[in-house]
Symmetry: none
Amino acid sequence: MLKKERQAFILKQINLHNRVLSSDLSLEINVSEDTIRRDLLELSVEDKLIKVHGGALSKSFHSSFLREDIYQLDAKKLIAHKALNLIKDGMFVLTSGGTTVIELARILPVALKATFFTGSIPAAYEYAKHPNIELIFIGDKISKSSQITVGGEAIMKINSIKPDLCLLGVNAIDLAAGVTDNDWDVVQVKKAMVEAASKTAVLTITEKLNSSQKLKICDINQVDYLITEKDHQHDLFHAYASAGVEIL
Amino acid sequence: MLKKERQAFILKQINLHNRVLSSDLSLEINVSEDTIRRDLLELSVEDKLIKVHGGALSKSFHSSFLREDIYQLDAKKLIAHKALNLIKDGMFVLTSGGTTVIELARILPVALKATFFTGSIPAAYEYAKHPNIELIFIGDKISKSSQITVGGEAIMKINSIKPDLCLLGVNAIDLAAGVTDNDWDVVQVKKAMVEAASKTAVLTITEKLNSSQKLKICDINQVDYLITEKDHQHDLFHAYASAGVEIL
DNA sequence: TATAAATAGGCAAAAAAGTGCAAAAATATG
DNA sequence: CATATTTTTGCACTTTTTTGCCTATTTATA
């Protein structure tokens, strides 16, 4: 069998079954696993498939969602980088959805080994691409507007875990009003998340600071860390720092 | 043998077998391999064949592989459209992941009002965009390779529902071997899905027909509908139809 | 953390390809 | 017809490609 034929065969198997094992191909085509590995390497640099330990995966399965224009993306990236400091190897992390949290999911260091819980579909999609984190999706009804799980079953599930850290992307935060939002179902879930976690970090652009909405998620004193794009010594944060929130 | 005769012979062999080896041709025509190589070089600059190390490949063979992705996508879209006929307003539909199912998710008519259950992140992402369907995500550990929920909790959840229809994107289906797959965790979940649903429809391109993998999801007699891109009267389906599967 | 599988990188043998050359054959030209 | 010119072909040689094997590392997973 010619090399090109072999590679075509491999691609066909991948498109057919979404994944192949080097060992299987080696047996089927009757060449050494080294040869298969070299083929997979070539095809992967040609962007025809995704090479993984032990074989290869179909590309179509792993193409990413289109990133739409995100408001203040640079600020959100900065926030994400700051938030990384809170996440350590072996941690159990519970995260909400929201563009800032998704940005964080994208930049998690590949070496990080941790367990993430989330009910957000876009966030889960990003976490799932990470090689070393274990992902537990909290299922139930999906809220269309926020693409996040809501409902009693999800809340029960959240109550049954005890994560080290909750990363909350929020809509509004204010010293007096606390963390607030405007979707009843989402608020119930976020409430449960804050309650369950040992520590809670709020991720938000400063624009949302000192604003409030109609439904309350938690008080300021339940927030352990506040992460924004501005320097932690900025005047804006004095009152929050006094209230016991650590500013990052 | 004249040079032109020889080249015509080579082209004939290529069209017949899709590939030729320089060494074979040298023996058959009784000229040196150098001459064959020069012939192949000439024919390849004339765009009559594709020269590769060791011989040559037919043009159609090669170009069909380049276009395979698009070709398969068309097939999957066709399958998705056929599958639509099974889905009625008010139904509870349980779906797996896989590119074909995701294609279906993309083309659900906006007017359709139904409840969808899934454990696939990409599929959920598509369902979530639909205005009128209610989406319940089945949560648990997410399998990285297939981006689908796996694990005992997910299976228990599936067992607790009684959907009207299960839409299964499969990796391999065969009359004797039944529906098979290659990931243990995924197989457990799919098994539960088939068990739970009143009716099961298998969505697959015909290329996956009559192929099998190592782990069994269910027997052919548990499959109610088989949906492929080919006409339902195609010879390929006789045996399946005889086994009681309705071909769409 | 320990163990087995998978991988990368170096090496060598074999196959194939490129190169230059010269003999043979075909073709052109006076 | 004789000679010059071009084309074709095979051969000797070097270079490149392909492949399998080996060993040290890395990776997956219990």
